[in-house]
């Protein structure tokens, strides 16, 4: 096996280090040993896999059995739970700019992640963050052989199970001594029980179809040659097939194959006054063969280019407080940022480090809805449902569909909000104060720690207005509030897609991370709509401030539309509640959708551009074509 380097993970996830620092420890609650009914650990013999010929499952089974029955340090508890996760992944990625190829990569890898717990369901070695801990020579995760053979995998599983057990034993002892120092230890269980599932799906072999992806990406990106005022562009094709294996000592055995194909493009420019501007384009489909052809992609890119050129010429928005209309996908993007951190019912882990708690707070890791079950959180005409079991909606495929979650729990439809009242939260097997058992929402990317995340999230509302009535209502509200014009947002920014360089991304972190607590949102395509004649005028440079989840308790009007907003959810959740915390890219994000109507919010605070624009280049751009 080979250790997975942090650098590789970072590159793959393209997200802040802080999120990774909490890896493996990002789980909740603990309890004093003698305070309550400790659940009896269930240790069943894992079933012999049905797919006899799958050496991967055989190796996992055999090594797990050996560990379950014989892995024990003298005078120390045996493990009560062992879990193996393995990801077999095939990726093809092709990147072009202005009709020329930047890079093409074909990679095939297998990664494993091992979880071993000591203690019992009530109090175990997980959900605890400490500065000290076991420093193993190999670790509990790693890159393993891609031959799908038996011997090498068993060797690797053996080493990592050993490391995971020693880590668990050390964590347990640190945790118990920490709990003794608390006056009132938490009473929530560490781990919930669930029904074991055995489900071995056929393994899907990669099918790259007969298409020439390098040539397609060149052709598609050439459409942007029409825009000499663009600075840089990146058009990335990302095709992935993977098989996920999960096995645990409770008897669960899962083998499931999934695939995804994406085109993600970023383009940037500079306005005449030096303001940097960008735009992006993204399309996600289930299979490479479903991707649009290069002519169609080129057309969409040209639209994004035209839009950016208009933005470049448009006036800068001034400070504004009043009604703002979020149209179609913009409302989905807003909900992805505002709702996500509050949907999880799991508790944050116990920590010996005050700094860690502070960091969680600062990064928005606290749920605004935690502890508010049965109270009204949305307008009484609205409901919120997360349904991973749905494959499509009005003929549109839903990316967030799955049958079994990443902890081996059956996917369930969850009514989070019913008629405005909070009813339920999304749960993994990490219990929380209000709900203890999993409802099949544990998700992860690239074997990151599972977290309760949304899948296909529906904001359903009765009494929505048609487009014309909604606009009228919007302009009336605008007029009543005494404005000449109000703002309409058609696209929200997505820093994970629109940053071409790490440097740009860092600027986003600077801009957005400070706004975690202040509810900062970044619109990308925004219009002034005039009350007098309904005229729309694109504006640039505005940030929304103070738009928190509680702003959604009263929504004066909304559309009867149901726009599907597909996106890659950021698995790490750093800077939760911001665009950075919500969005990832196809490379390491979690496929998700939000279905929501257009939303009219009143009292939205938009801050105009107040920074110093950078000075323009001393040298003009060279010609883009020969």
């Amino acid at each position: 096996m080979r250790k997975i380097s942090v650098i590789a993970l970072l590159a793959a996830l393209a997200f802040p280090v802080v999120a990774l620092a909490a890896r493996d420890k990002n789980t909740a609650a603990a309890h004093d040993k003698d305070a309550g009914l400790a659940a009896k650990p269930i240790m069943v013999q894992a079933p012999v896999p049905e797919a006899e010929s799958d050496q991967t499952l055989r190796a996992m089974h055999d090594e797990m059995e050996r560990s379950r029955t014989r892995l024990q340090l003298p005078g120390v508890d045996k493990p009560f739970y062992i879990e193996y996760r393995l990801l077999d992944i095939d990726v093809r990625s092709v990147t072009s700019s202005f009709g020329a190829l930047i890079a093409t990569n074909d990679t095939r890898n297998r990664f494993m992640s091992i979880d071993v717990r000591v203690g019992d369901y009530h109090l175990d070695s997980s959900n605890f963050v400490s500065e000290d801990g076991f420093q193993g020579f190999l670790g509990t995760t790693g890159e393993v052989g891609i031959d799908r053979d038996y011997n090498s995998l068993r060797q690797d599983l053996w080493l990592s199970t050993d490391q995971a057990y020693k880590q668990a034993v050390t964590q347990m002892s640190l945790k118990q001594s920490f709990l003794r120092s608390l006056t009132k230890p938490p009473e929530i269980d560490d781990f919930s029980q669930t029904t074991p599932i055995v489900k071995i799906d056929p393994r899907t072999e990669p099918d790259w179809t007969a298409r020439n992806w390098e040539e397609e990406s060149r052709q598609a990106s050439a459409a942007l040659l029409k825009f000499p005022q663009l600075n840089a562009t990146r058009v990335n094709y990302y095709l992935v097939y993977f098989t996920y294996y999960l096995m645990n000592t409770e008897g669960t055995t899962i083998r499931t194959s999934r695939h995804l194909a994406a085109i993600e493009a970023a383009l940037d420019t500079t306005a005449g006054d030096g303001m940097p501007l960008h735009n992006f384009y993204a399309v996600y489909v289930a299979k490479p063969g479903d991707l649009p052809d290069p002519a169609a992609v080129g057309q969409s890119l040209a639209q994004a280019g035209t839009q950016l050129m208009t933005l470049r010429q448009s006036p800068i928005v001034s400070d504004f407080t009043g009604p703002v209309l979020f149209q179609g996908a913009a409302s989905g993007a807003l909900l992805a940022q505002a709702l996500a951190p509050s949907l999880s019912g799991a508790r944050p882990p116990l920590s010996t480090m005050p700094a860690f708690d502070e960091m969680m707070q600062r990064m928005g890791g606290r749920s605004e809805w935690s502890g508010r079950v049965s109270s009204r959180v949305l307008p009484a005409t609205m409901s919120l449902i997360d349904d991973p079991t749905l494959k499509e909606f009005n003929g549109v495929p839903l990316l967030g569909n799955y049958e079994i979650d990443d902890e081996g729990v059956k996917a369930q439809r969850v009514q989070v909000v019913e008629n405005g009242t909070l009813k339920n939260l999304l749960m993994s097997r990490r219990p929380g104060p209000e709900f203890q058992t999993s409802n099949g929402h544990a998700r992860s990317a690239l074997l990151s720690d599972t977290r309760p995340l949304s899948s296909n999230l529906f904001l359903q509302a009765s009494g929505g207005l048609n487009a014309a009535d909604l606009k009228k209502k919007f302009l009336d509200a605008c007029h009543d509030d005494g404005h000449e014009w109000c703002l309409e947002i058609k696209t929200m920014d997505n820093p994970a897609l629109s940053s071409i360089r790490q440097e740009d991304f860092s600027e986003f972190i600077g801009a957005v991370a400070g706004g975690v607590a202040s509810g900062e949102r970044i619109p990308l395509v925004m219009y002034r709509v005039y009350v007098a004649d309904g005229r729309e005028e694109m504006v640039r440079g505005g940030h929304i401030e103070g738009l928190q989840l509680r702003s959604l308790r009263n929504i004066p009007a909304y559309g009867d539309d149901e726009t599907v907003f597909p996106y890659m959810q950021n698995p790490s959740g750093g800077f939760a509640g911001t665009a950075l915390g919500a969005f990832g890219s196809a490379q390491g994000g979690i496929p998700s959708t939000i279905i929501a109507p257009s939303l009219l919010l009143d009292e939205v605070e938009v801050r105009g551009f107040h920074g110093e624009p950078r000075r323009l280049p001393l040298v003009d751009a060279p010609p883009l074509t020969q």
Partner: protein
């Protein structure tokens, strides 16, 4: 080492070396057509310099570099294939210096750690000049803006801070331009046979229950570099390098990590090591691992020690070579061991040391630190660092010292880092050489003379030099890996483990009393401030009159609780 996508291998095939060497000898001879990348670079350099030299502050120097990297990697572990990949990418770096050669935006501020990493961007691999120019234009503007901001800070700090003597050295040296357009290199790798090989090599390791984890990695790199600057330098040159690395991990019963590592390097596919050679090396590595697992821990000891050639080579690289790197003499945070010692005796008078990147091979064995031009576009030079024990000069990049105003072609870096003075091929020679057998006898004589029961024979040393990508040790850490006790009474040598050299290793160098007569070569990657660069170190065996060692701390992570699945007596027949 695990090569990163930015890893850069400076290496020249002999054929290329001759071609370029011939060109250098006959400057002005007919040139190959200018590659598209250089055309694009030149266009943008001219345009940018015309405007930025009149800017405020004004640029006085702009350079751009494109590294076109073709890379294959085939890696196996514990008998299975880990990865098999092939990539091609181009990386662009632009440097825009504002101010003057004497004082510019890169001037080191006393209270601030310099940034070792250098910005850059990936660019198109197609030879599309307009798109390349667009990327170069963007990057040049970005760097100019960053440089102007940095210069303001430098000027402000100049007014308030006391300047050190070495701080008065100019920030950048003036160098003659060089124009050299070499042929483009390309690698063609059939990965299939290597996939089979890495499986077989690592399966061979798995036969030993003591080997917990094994990795074998084959890499092939074809690198074409393009450099141009506003002084008139224009370079295009290519290098290829093939490498096989073997790495095993084990644990002694007390938990101490035992690692063994071996590497093979070659330039021409036909010179790849054959299976017989590799399997023989694997057997040696297994034997060493098993012996080290059982070896006793060393007791604290002070007395005579002998280093074999490869151990001595690493030792010189770490304890002398790094201290001879010019930029360290400028940095007040450095030990500056040698800063004021030019002209002084620092080593015994029979020892001479040069660094010569222009040597491609020694006795038909390749030297990994060979290159024609450094990463600042300066031709590599042979530098006599120590002559008969007397320190003569330092390895220099274009960051001058007060008394050494020019580069000697040692400004090196891994892609993505800022070049600093680094070693190439560090070659130690001796005028007091005896055969290795005689040297061993001298060790025993010394042991007896000092009244000690035994002396130490050090056969392998880990440094920043031989890191394997897992955990990079400190650049100057010197940790003996394979050490034997050599008894005065004729008992067989005894392997010991956990040896840590106490005190300043440098002192040991002054206590060298004799050397062997056979130079040994160590090829590896050296990790330091400017990233990982390929180097070689060459030295004969050395005899040191006194070295002090103590016990190294062991890990608390004990060996695995259960036996390996393939060697579990209770699990017979499970191996498939």
């Amino acid at each position: 080492m695990t090569p990163t996508h930015r890893a850069r291998v400076l290496f020249r095939s002999i054929a290329i070396f001759l071609a370029t060497g011939g060109f250098l000898a006959a400057a002005g001879a007919a040139q190959a057509p200018t590659p598209a990348v250089l055309v694009a670079m030149k266009d943008e350099l001219d345009r940018s310099m015309a405007a930025m030299s009149k800017g405020d502050p004004s640029a006085y120097f702009i350079s751009s570099t494109v590294a076109d990297r073709q890379y294959s990697e085939v890696s196996g572990s514990n008998g299975a294939l880990l990865t098999s990949t092939e990539t091609r990418a181009r990386w662009l770096e632009v440097q825009t210096r504002v101010g003057t050669y004497q004082l510019d935006d890169t001037h080191k501020l006393a209270d601030r750690q310099p940034s070792w990493t250098s910005p850059g961007t990936s660019v198109v691999v197609d030879d599309n000049i307009p798109v390349l120019r667009r990327e170069i234009w963007l990057e040049t503007n970005r760097q100019y803006r960053a440089a102007t901001e940095a210069l303001i800070k430098v000027r402000t700090s100049q007014q308030v801070q006391v300047q050190t003597a070495e701080g008065n050295a100019p920030d950048f040296s003036r160098e003659k331009p060089h124009v050299s357009i070499g042929p483009r290199v390309e690698i063609k790798v059939d990965r299939k046979p290597w996939e089979e090989k890495v499986r077989a090599y690592t399966a061979a390791f798995s036969k030993s229950p003591e080997v917990l984890n094994s990795i074998a990695t084959f890499t092939a790199l074809g690198m074409n570099q393009y450099q141009a600057n506003t002084e008139g330098t224009q370079l295009a040159f290519g290098q290829v390098h093939y490498r096989l690395e073997l790495y095993v991990q084990s644990k002694a019963p007390d938990g101490m990590d035992i690692n063994r590592y071996a590497n093979f390097d070659w330039l021409n596919p036909k010179d790849a090591p054959d299976d017989k050679t590799v399997f023989a090396r694997i057997q040696i590595m297994i034997a060493e691992t098993e012996a080290l697992d059982k070896a006793p821990l060393v007791d604290p000891y002070a007395g005579p020690a002998m280093l074999t050639g490869r151990a001595a080579a690493v030792f010189f690289h770490e304890v002398f070579g790094h201290r001879a790197e010019g930029f360290r003499q400028k940095d007040i945070n450095e030990g500056q061991t040698f800063t004021s010692k030019i002209g002084e005796q620092i080593l015994p008078d029979f020892i001479s040391i040069k660094d010569d990147p222009t040597e491609a091979a020694l006795d038909k064995q390749m030297l990994l630190g060979n290159y024609a031009f450094d990463d600042e576009g300066v031709p590599a030079e042979k530098v006599q660092l120590v002559d008969h024990g007397v320190l003569k000069t330092f390895l220099m990049s274009r960051s001058p010292l007060v008394n050494i105003p020019q580069s000697n072609g040692h400004g090196r870096r891994q892609l993505g880092f800022v070049p600093v003075a680094r070693q190439g091929n560090l070659i130690v020679s001796s005028s007091k050489a005896v055969t290795n057998d005689q040297l061993r006898q001298q060790l025993i004589d010394l042991v007896k003379a000092q009244g000690k029961p035994f002396g130490l024979l050090i056969d392998d040393i880990a440094g920043g030099f031989t890191f394997t990508g897992r955990q990079q040790p400190q650049a100057f850490q010197v940790l003996p890996l394979v050490v034997y006790k050599v008894y005065a009474d004729g008992r067989p040598d005894q392997l010991v483990r956990g040896v840590d050299i106490v005190g300043t290793p440098l002192v040991s160098l002054t206590k060298i009393v004799a050397t062997g007569d056979t130079p040994d070569i160590f090829n590896g990657y050296c990790g330091a401030e400017s990233g990982s660069v390929p180097v070689a170190a060459v030295a004969p065996a050395i005899l040191i009159s006194e070295m002090e060692v103590q016990k190294k701390e062991t890990s608390t992570d004990k060996p695995p609780i259960l036996p390996p699945p393939g060697h579990d007596p209770e699990n017979k027949g499970q191996r498939q």
